[in-house]
């Protein structure tokens, strides 16, 4: 478990070498996804002359923002061995609140505050159902997925609501750096949020509690951690993060559509899993998730530019998820 030597390159890997690799994987779960990302970038740079452009790098980053932000909240929930199926529905409801309130003449700032409040409250409802009623997160968020999706459609009358307010579209309005790289405020907001959550997870008592609860709830309780409070706070913070994702989404397309992001929940889980966070909780981190979201966007971009049909892109993404989890399982078995 605590071997510090890394595996030397050998012709035929011995059992110790493989254990070393598994150990390395467990200690730095971001490494595998980073290598996969690097390989994908190199391959697409070689196969397509348009991939490795500065403006394409900007596009890939812009395409990553919304799903990565959703996946940031998802990472917190999955670290506690939970799952959030309702995150994209909460985000869509938030974006509809922003857009419709503003369209009805409310000040955009007020619309923003209202949307943030509602998303956070829904997060608190998930947290309360999980901690107070002791329901499995899968069931709670499956139910909320249906409820929140319906609420969004009722609230929007099934219509989409265009946004004209500068504030609501602010995160997508950028300018060109180095002539070609379109840089948006949304990119900085995304990176800042990943930085903040990373800091909270790795440098605060709260973060250690989140990992402890995810590793073994009973053990965490016995060491005096307030398990219920920790879990509840995770869902509240996640709800707040989904509100930011909603704001980011309006920066991408200034139009809130109740039918958008129908697979956003699964896309965010995909990013988390490819990013090396374990679905069993307690292991993983936010940078892996960012890399996971980038991998999916890079695959879409590179395969599209190589002229490959969208359905094969889905096949590639799905296989990557299975490979990531298989590798995770293998590493756990080896190291234990």
């Amino acid at each position: 478990m605590s071997s510090t030597t890394t595996a030397p390159p050998a012709a035929a890997p011995s059992k110790e070498d493989r254990r070393g690799l598994a150990d390395l994987w467990l200690r730095s779960p971001t490494l595998g996804p980073l290598i996969a990302l690097a390989i994908a970038v190199v391959i697409f740079s070689l196969t397509s002359s348009t991939f490795m452009n500065i403006d394409n790098m900007s596009l890939v980053l812009q395409q990553t923002i919304v799903i990565a932000t959703l996946a940031l909240g998802q990472t917190l929930v999955i670290l506690t061995a939970g799952i959030d199926l309702a995150n994209a529905a909460i985000m869509v409801l938030g974006s509809l609140l922003f857009a419709k309130l503003a369209a009805q003449g409310q000040p955009p700032l007020l619309a923003l505050v209202a949307g943030f409040a509602v998303c956070t409250v829904i997060g608190a409802v998930s947290g309360a159902l999980v901690t107070r009623l002791k329901l499995p997160p899968f069931i709670v968020t499956l139910g909320l997925l249906t409820v929140v999706t319906a609420l969004g459609r009722l609230y929007s009358d099934g219509n989409s609501w265009p946004v004209t307010s500068d504030l609501l579209g602010y995160l997508g309005k950028g300018s060109y750096l180095f002539g070609q790289f379109y840089v948006t405020p949304g990119m900085f907001v995304m990176l800042a949020m990943f930085g903040i959550v990373w800091y909270a997870l790795s440098h605060t008592a709260w973060g250690k509690h989140v990992y402890a609860v995810g590793n073994d709830e009973e053990a965490a309780r016995l060491t005096g951690i307030h398990v219920r409070q920790t879990l509840f706070s995770v869902y509240v913070v996640a709800g707040l993060i989904y509100a930011v994702a909603a704001w980011q989404a309006l920066g991408r397309i200034p139009n809130a559509d109740p039918n958008a992001f129908q697979t956003g929940n699964l896309d965010s889980i995909t990013a988390v899993v490819i990013g090396g966070t374990s679905l069993f909780g307690g292991r993983g981190g936010v940078w892996g998730t960012l890399v996971g979201a980038l991998i999916v966007a890079v695959l879409r971009s590179g395969l599209t530019q190589a002229g490959i049909d969208s359905l094969y892109q889905d096949v590639a993404t799905g296989l990557l998820v299975i490979a990531a989890v298989a590798f995770d399982q293998w590493a756990r078995r080896r190291a234990l």
Partner: protein, 340 residues
Amino acid sequence: MSSTLRTVCASAAIVTIAATACTSTKSTDSSGSGATGSAAGGTVKVGLVTKTDTNPYFVKLRDSAKAEAQKQNAELIALAGKFDGDNEGQVAAIENLVQQGVKGILITPSNSTGILGALKKAKDAGIVVIALDTETDPKDAVDATYATNNVTAGELQGKYVKATLGVTAPKIIMMDGTAGGTVDEMRHRGFLQGIGVAEGSPQIVGKANTNGDQNKAQAAMENLLQRSTDVNAVYTINEPAARGAYAAISAKNLQSKITMASIDGGCQGVQDVKDGKYLATVMQFPKKMAEQGVDAVVKFAKDGSKPSGFQDTGAQVISDKPVAGLDIKDTAWGLQNCWG
């Protein structure tokens, strides 16, 4: 153990029934099979089963049917699937309507083949069955179909783009819907016929499945434009896909170079045409489908004559930039006749 199982089954059944009942807009008292007898009290019961009850298109269809039924002194019972592709939900809705003794069933089939068995049972019970919006496969699984001819709609879209391009050879990006979808395939095929380009031709610079989702369409268009901006024509399966494509096109400042058209005739789509985001959209008429459907059922209840065949409810090009050789209505007309 077995009693626990029974409780679980019973609660599951109750939940299912409750869920089905909730989607009904009007509850009825009797559950007897009155299909063969004449409707008690003189009111004709008309059943409507849409793909979902959330999409504004189906909401318009339902509301129009309700208004027409009221006018004809008939009773409309509207049910719906939970999502596009919910065959089980539609089958349950059909069975439910047969139980309630409706004279006719109007249905927008989610999957054209998934509900054939239930439709046959309804027909065998002496109920007239009419498909709205989408044909069944085979077509004679229903008595009649009132729908947009989606090949024609796509063709109009293609012809408009071709007329706008003039002598310039088209270089096309296609924002498709869902792979394998009946309507998706028909519009795609119609567009290519209208613009005069063969499937698989190198003039199709790129295509992607968008599932009619604005964000998927945006990312797909961004990636395709990254490959080449040498494009002058864009096909979109519906207006959300056009909205996403526009976001990508305008970010590259290519609006003036590219002729984009869409299909559907939703009010926001028409507004987008008016705002100059794309040049034209082809409008469908769910109101006509619903009205003609209700009328046919009421007529059947009165004199026993069944409707038959395919009734094209029409497709209308909406644009503020008319082209020669096509019947075009402007966006002012479009905003008066749009749905949603």
